[in-house]
């Protein structure tokens, strides 16, 4: 139960911080740089234009993904980690940039005793997590656990330092 609450928090958190940054746009027809917006003191908003088909940042989490996470949770409760992972993978095909899903898959792999894969999946989650601090902390904690079980103590300590840096 607790796990699913955390999960939903992560999911919503990841969605609410959906990426809004875009690379700068060069107008290729003229070969000239589109003049950057006059107010770009904050480098986190790179110059550019929001592309229409993207979901708005406050869009609710994808219903299909939520349904699949419910199903994954059922498999988890039934102790069927293979089907749990396959269901999360199915959700990831629908929403490949959902950092919480990558984290969730990492957690399953760690439980399955596959720390190497778990570590890498958590790093992938981090690459998509943006400024979702809760998720970043969870990922580095997971990376630390994975590295400890791989006897990579230096790497594990580095990951723990990241957790501390994030105030986790």
């Amino acid at each position: 139960m607790k796990r699913s609450v955390v999960l939903i928090c992560l999911l919503l958190g990841a969605c609410s911080s959906a990426p809004t940054r875009l690379p700068p746009v060069i107008d290729g027809r003229t070969g000239e740089a589109v003049p950057p917006p006059t107010t770009t003191p904050d480098d986190s908003v790179a110059p550019g234009v929001i592309v229409t088909p993207l979901p708005p940042p406050d869009a609710p989490p994808n219903g299909a993904v939520v349904a699949l996470l419910d199903q994954a949770e059922d498999y988890h409760r039934a102790g069927d980690s293979n089907n749990e992972a396959a269901t999360i993978e199915r959700a990831l095909r629908i929403d490949t940039r959902n950092a919480a899903l990558w984290h969730r898959l990492a957690a399953v792999r760690l439980e399955q005793g596959r720390p190497q894969e778990a570590e890498q999946l958590a790093l992938k989650s981090n690459a998509l997590a943006g400024d979702n601090r809760l998720l970043l902390v969870s990922n580095w904690q997971l990376v630390a656990r994975a590295r400890w079980s791989l006897n990579d103590s230096d790497g594990a300590r580095q990951a723990e330092q990241r957790v501390r840096d994030l105030g986790g």
Partner: protein
Amino acid sequence: MPRKKSKSRRRSPRRRARKNRSLPWGRLLITLLVLLTGYVAFLDFQVYRKFEGHRWTLPARVYARPLELYSGLALNATQFATELKALGYRFVSRPRRPGEVARNASRFQLISRAFDFWDGREASRPLRVSFDASRVTRLQDDRSGADVALARLDPLEIGSIHTARQEDRILVRLDEVPATLVKALIAVEDRGFYRHWGISPRSVARAMWVNLRSGRVVQGGSTLTQQLVKNFFLSNRRSLGRKLNEAIMALLIERRYAKDEILEAYLNEVYLAQDGQRAIHGFGLGSRFLFQRPLDELTTAQMALLVGMVKGPSYYDPRRHPQRARERRNLVLQVMLEQGIIDRAAYQKARNEGLGLVTPEAGTSKTFPAFLDLVRRQLRRDYNESDLVGEGLRIFTTLDPQVQWALQKALDRRITPLLQQQPELQGAGLVTHSANGEVLALAGGRQAGYAGFNRALDIQRQIGSLIKPAIYLSALEQPQRYNLATLLDDSPLQYEQSGKLWSPGNYDQRYHGQVMLYQALAHSYNVATARLGLELGVPRVIDTLRRLGLEKPLNPYPSLFLGATDMSLIQVTRLYLGFASGGFQLPLRSIREVLDSQGKPLQRYDLSVHRVIDPAPAYLISTALQKVVGEGTARALNQRFSPQLGLAGKTGTTNDLRDSWFAGFDGDKLGVVWIGRDDNQPMGLTGASGAMQVWADLYREAGATPQQLLKPDTVTWHGIDPASGGLADRGCANTVQLPFIETGALPPPAPCAGRSLPDWLPGWLR
């Protein structure tokens, strides 16, 4: 394991015969009897073996990815209709049964088919799907109107892997076969089926009478049971001895098995059609083969046609002899009417129906031999050939039919008009998902559906400038030395190595002086790249290529910097997945899972990722590859795509225009296209004029997803003065925004910078 029926065996005839031994008959008679008994026992064993074992030999079936429907899915109404057509959905005014769909402009109402997936059965359900220009806007239950979160359609079957005998069938249980079809079959082929013991003396007598009168064998009095025997042993001889054998075996089958078991075996065994090398057995596959729909969706007329074909599959082949087949079908309908199986209204309706065949050419191809080739190679690594056939495995692949059709169309559209001047022109393409490494589409040549030389897997060609991002990445991974604005020297270069002089030139045969690093990549300047490579050293570049997953041997010469190495489309894909995924290496996967005949997963090919480029340089190189499209050699793409999509890629052209390459990616997929000739002769196309055009057609058709690169915390954007490559400020008129790694070196201030008055002055003074 072959599916075995658990049935208690009855006492064999051999054991029964032993009792007779003590009888006081003559020696000869005993010998005869023993021989005969032995022979019957032999036949009995054969029948038993066929019935229990061979009967269930099933090829492995291969499926495309199932279409997952949900609100927000990027798919338009045309693409959806194409997919439904390929799946054999019938377009009707109001859907009543599974496999039927009604379309009203951009709104579809359908009843999906049930299908057994690895996670259980996806039930048939009524759905309403609404589209706008590019996506599913709403998915509802068509009965209640309630929103549906997710629905999965049955997947397109794209092939099967056969036994040596090349028999193919889809197994059906008796209760899955429409009663009308079964009744019609019995009425036409063997009216006494439920009464006889395997042979029917009355029909034999009738047949003999007919045959005697005409002086040759024109009619068979075979029961369904005898026909089953004939199908089991695949003989068309009509000798008396053969007939006798059949009769004995028919009796033996009837003694061992119940009528319904015999009927079920017959329905699955009967030979119905030939598809090239493949023999179509059983009504389940026959229905798919002719009408592209499951048995329970057939009309009365279609059932009658199938039943009619039993008598002579090639003589009544409805594709080759439509008139003959139609007459035969109507005869069957007549019998059905006479026997009370259908009423007069149904009879009249069915008589007037067309044959309703699906012609293999109609619609969009459902054969993807080049992709299947990849699947087969992957399977062969993990299974013995013998495990793959006969066990009824189901193989779920990653093929996305929408992308595959788009790829084939794009290759065809670009290459066909050039064949007049270049009859030898060929092409190949490979599209993968950049987040999970799934192969979405693969084309092995310019012709769709042509099983031949698979260029996507088997050609190895010089890759030219496609290699350059690996060199620039090697530089950007040293942020103290290089950034995207670092000035590179693009002036004449002569490099001597072991007595040989190497002096690369640019494609436009000009030199460009001092250029920023990102510009040298965007415009694919050879000399600047070669100089950068020499600064970095060959070993460092090779190390980068290895990290990105390239395993082949590489020549440690500077010519490597300009792509003087042969690669396959798979290898190029692996290399570029590293960029497209934001710095991860992903194993390419063409299979998601393999299920056994019971639906249990035998094997899964799990998603895995491995970070090979740190987030900051990965971000920088992807940005540079966006500049290739933004202002470089691929800028023509901006005429066909919104610059806001953030497309990224790289052109590649080899000496004398022998190979035209393009590798490009949007927000979710990577496409690699090659055009050239099999004999490696010049063909007159550059990367931008050949392969990139195919790529553009492909992404127009399949749809492009915006690419948002996620900026790591360690990267900051700065304005750069393009004239000097220096750091700009407000005093500079035109600036280019570029990302820099915070811990690395920044360019010096530009000459135009520092001229503006300091920030602390009041605004009216500045």
